[in-house]
Symmetry: D3
Subunit: 295 residues, 6 copies
């Protein structure tokens, strides 16, 4: 499924800038008492961004924007591109410019870079495990409040695909919706039809099912995508066989590196995993400064 | 060190409200096409917030604020208080009100709650491991951009303490500052003195050292806190012995559940761990809806 | 198609409040030199909102919020509900409270109310003309910058349906996309397939065609919706016949009160009209004050 | 009255930028799923902005700013200046640059351009009808919430003049103020004097009257401008004759292309028309893309 | 000129709230490390707001809003009204509620209150000196960036009047405009006429003059207000005599407590003084806490 | 104490820009009716910034940013650097560019420049009086809401030092905290210990005392800084002698040009003065324009 060789498009630069500016303010980057006391304004320097663990790099343009937002004279020259897999102790970029600004923006730049690289790395682990199979690994809406655009970017950098962005651009009928509708006496088929009628005509209708019979009812009622949540592997395979391509099938729940391949082998079209965003460990990246002499 | 029995103070409610409002907008909570199509406006409902794994709960007031920001008629009644340790399948709160609003705000509320509970849980693991020792577990500035106040709250809920909030309220001379100053010919002692002179009089001076001799020089020059970064256990113990309470000692680097007790036993006063914020896995919490009939 | 008897859901109240607050600031409502000079602070009053032309009322809750944002002691009690058709000189609501606040917020409240009622009225004219036919009248993205949510609300109040909200929640391949793709050597079928592969799995694929052959190619390649832009009536009917329900058909271009019924009679499923938002005349509504005596 | 040959000054660029950024975000311009799926990042293109109806162009600098806000590599070169009258099928500008950005910003740029050109066109119709008479055509405060500055710009581009910007920069005593003051026992003369005393000394006092006697009383009490709202033509002429230049006279109410000249011939100095902003139809303008090949 | 006995209207509460929220955030009021360490969350308390110098109180509603923004359980009950003259050691209000919140908001509340009271006091000194004369004391645009609305409120509380709010609501032709116009060959009379023609019809035209001849020319050309900047007393009197009420006269420059009465005695209608806003000393006000016991 | 020869670092440029943009909007700089009527768009000009009183200049970069925010073609070339002492009638900078923009931004630029220069001048008066003594003059948190960063900059430009920025970056136990704690039965020593335990380890503990015994108790309990508020000179000297360098001593209250030297001679390390920010008179600075001819 690696049809896309081109660079992954970045989110709205204005949004990214606002996130960076808020982060710099939060971190008191312009009242950095330590740096102001120890580094003269005219001291220049360089710093290597060093990946200390292996993983997929994501967010170098964001880190560059963070340094530039601090001080337009600071430049980050990437040594690798977003999406590169690196081994431990790889230099992934070099920052140069006024040392005060480099040190005051360091933490903010790294906080973005480490988190996004962590997400890309977690995603890549899953996508690599199913690289030869006709399945897409998807993210979920279980992202950090405010950072969804960036985290979805990292998922794509890691080889994953994005599920719907938010509640507005996809109809996804989940267990709680079904419980709500059943309380009104609706069957699965009723629910699919009501969603189809009420939703914008530009959207497909996806519904979560727990049993084969529900999948059959949903399919008959016109569901476009069948979500199999926390279903056993044999049942999944049974649903896939039953559907026979008349709808897409998506698996979710309990997706880990240990399970993803077996899930994919059931023949589902899509596998979504919350863990790649809500529980990805940050990639260990540091900045190693080589200072110049003053002025 | 569990001297504080009172509730942990929450961050600025205006800040929390802004984060919530941005998250609801990001998630398209007011254009939830699925819920609008399937749930009538007058259908009421209840939902149980269910912790599916064991851990420390943090963020119930934030989740409550998220539901209330969506619709002031939605109420979350906590079943436990922030800071409680829960076993799997514990109901931690009950949400009730208009079902549309409950479903449309569900993800945002959970995204905050799961992340903060994950941080509190990771923190508690470390603090429990050293609960009988006179040491504080600290967070770092390795927090999610924009969420530092909330994540520090979760650390305190988990029994940890907060390090400086940002670059403005603590002097912390790190390896890169030392590299910058050495390039100007300064010794460790010079650096401590220059920081003392340049910093606000309200702040202590903390400096990172890598060897005993540096610790001695820093102490002699008046450092208030000595940071031992990635130092071996015997060396740490040696520094602690040398310092003899004349300054605080802080250990950082490689702090895990496996190592924290051994580090604490060296006698350091403080142990800081980036992982409790940058790499905490989200706690698994879901909402289980019981719908009423319409109107 | 009037399946929805329930009230149309309003947009995010926080968004509406922000628009109102910006409008009050823009209008200098708190520095209303005329009112401050002539109306004592304790003078109470009432005002009737009077529709001077016939039409559909939309936006009374927004007007109420505008008065309340000016002064929480001002209350607007609607005399009709949003969606009501009114004849000239109908009182549609009564405002009461401190007269200063009523007068200072009058213009902002009316500016929202007149515009939204104008849009609802223009929409109703079209939907009434095809009320007995199985077709939906849709809006477009030709809305006032910043007011899209409110204007779409007015369309629904007028009996219309909403097309996609924005570029994120619908795949709509228009003439310019086709020109861009053709320059790369792609056929209509290629384009549909590339869009299907590149787009999120939650979205249908809609494509604009100009000839029957293109419609056939698009349908064969899996298009979910066929947009017939500025096509002659016979050609439209021909496409509808060809499609035979295997995809939705949407007509756009030149949709007026004079043409909408004939277009609908071709059998298309959807008719979209930019004019209902970009060129709707404001409905004439005024405020007629009956002042109380001071204090 | 066409004394101004120079370009009309644009509103605050920071304000315009904020409106554009909000509009691009509202339209999901950076998550344009169709364009991202079909247009490679390196494909360049050109597009002609084509006026399909005759009218006055206004807002080309705003459209240019919208494209540039999307992507600084997109350039709009105007083919005519704001204020130009164009015939149908006139190319009014050419956009060039990365095709993705052109297509993603197209709708936002057009939404501004079509609305502002519609206002300028409606204004020009009125001003042309009275071009040989010593009268000014004015706008009102009946503008789109949030867009007042831009819409007043379009009025000036169309040859009109601006009335007060908001409630802070003009004393305009309207029927509701008079009703409020009469309830306190004040006469027209009292009202004018109280307004004069209470208002900033930098502002003139304008008052709405409905009869000749009121105009006389207002003039005697020192009114600077007499507003004749919905008054018959003979009565208007009578007031103008009575005033004899000792105050300005302004006509409002029922101002249309059919009536404006007759109103002007009464000799009033000013004619204000809400319709040029609240009910102007958008000018039909489209973008016609000529795509280059990829890379 | 004390015609106004009613309370001075406060600025837009939304604006005031935003200023307060920004000030609380700036002051770190929700991370008040001292108070959090020393005051338990359930300790209640009271505090007296004590004026330590004599002066005019202005801003008690703003201080109340600051405490309430910190914590809605904190209440400030004023002991005097804004506008009251107080002697040293007067209790002007009492704050009660949770002690933590009182202490954390104290400085922000006082910073607003002391500044506004200082401005009101400086204004009152001037207005008292000319209380028996038919002259108004005016402020200028020399206000603190961002606080103009509040500072103008304080001026009114002190018995002064407001000049134009900003560049948009008054035509004031100053020395630099005259220099600019003279460079284009315009005379004083030309300038007045050009301003009259170019300005909105709702505004008067005011012009600064330095000599009697200029005043004569300006008056003849139709100036509504003549500004006498830094003119000697005899010259001022001469201009006033010449004008004979056909325009207003305003004096500015060098207005102090020592000079204001002599200036007023020249017969000018208006005296404007920048010092009452740009150089007013803060009134000395403190908070004296009486703490309750915990819980 | 003039150890710092290098330029004082400016606050966050993004913060400064936001303050400027808000100030320009507040002043209606883009709707400057006078300038728009009198100055053609192509007229260029120059203006000298003229200090009319003696004092210390602070804020020239802010003024330059204000002109540039209005119009990037306006350039301010400083004739002196921030921190320079100037005599009356000194040209401190030259502004050149489009005259319209210069005139419309003039007041905002001057409002910042005059206030900051006033603060720097007031600070310099105090620091000069004790220049030969080993004492630092400090500001307080008695700053203008929203402008603290800029005002602290001006204090440093005037030779002063900054106290803590806000409640988050310093522990300062004041009379009200002590009253609160005493109500719970705590002694001075208890208070110091509780603050030390509850506060972040990066902060020193400062406490206000009124008597020698309290100072002794505070020192014994580990206070790092002893604040002597409104204490008599002999008592101050006595405390300084008692402390013998084991803590810092800070004097506050009643600090004026008349008293500052005597206070310093008691041997205190720090003197803080609220008056330098809350009551500094603006420095008199004006803009003198030399206009070019049009175009």
């Amino acid at each position: 499924m690696s049809e896309r060789l081109e660079p992954v498009p970045l989110p709205d630069p204005a949004l990214v800038y606002d996130l960076i500016a808020a982060a710099l303010a939060e971190d008191g980057a312009h009242r950095d008492v330590t740096t102001l006391a120890l580094v003269p304004p005219d001291q220049q320097g360089r710093g290597r961004l060093l990946a200390k663990s292996s993983g997929v790099i994501a967010g170098l343009p964001v880190a560059a924007a963070a340094f530039a937002a601090m001080d337009e004279e600071v430049e980050l020259v990437p040594a690798v591109a977003d999406g590169a897999w690196v081994e431990p102790m790889t230099t992934i970029g070099v920052v140069s410019g006024p040392l005060r600004s480099i040190l005051s923006a360091e933490r903010v730049a790294l906080n973005f870079l480490q988190r996004l690289s962590g997400i890309a790395t977690a995603t890549r682990a899953l996508t690599d495990a199913v690289a030869d199979l006709p399945v897409r690994v998807l993210d979920t809406r279980k992202t950090t409040p405010g950072l969804r655009d960036l985290e979805r970017y990292a998922v794509r950098v890691g080889g994953g695909h994005n599920h719907r962005f938010n509640l507005s651009d996809g109809v996804l009928i989940k267990d709680n919706h079904i419980a709500a509708a059943r309380a009104r006496g609706l069957s699965i088929a009723d629910i699919v039809r009501e969603a189809r009628r009420g939703a914008p005509h530009t959207l497909r209708v996806e519904i979560e099912v727990t049993r084969l019979e529900e999948a059959q009812a949903a399919l008959a009622a016109g569901a476009d995508v069948i979500l199999l949540d926390n279903m056993g592997l044999p049942e999944m395979a049974e649903v896939v066989t039953m559907v026979r391509g008349r709808a897409l099938t998506e698996a979710s729940g309990g997706v880990t590196l240990a399970t993803v391949r077996a899930i994919a082998l059931t023949g589902v079209d899509l596998i979504s995993a919350g863990s790649i965003t809500h529980s990805a460990a940050a990639l260990d990246i540091s900045l190693e400064v080589e200072a110049g002499t003053s002025g």
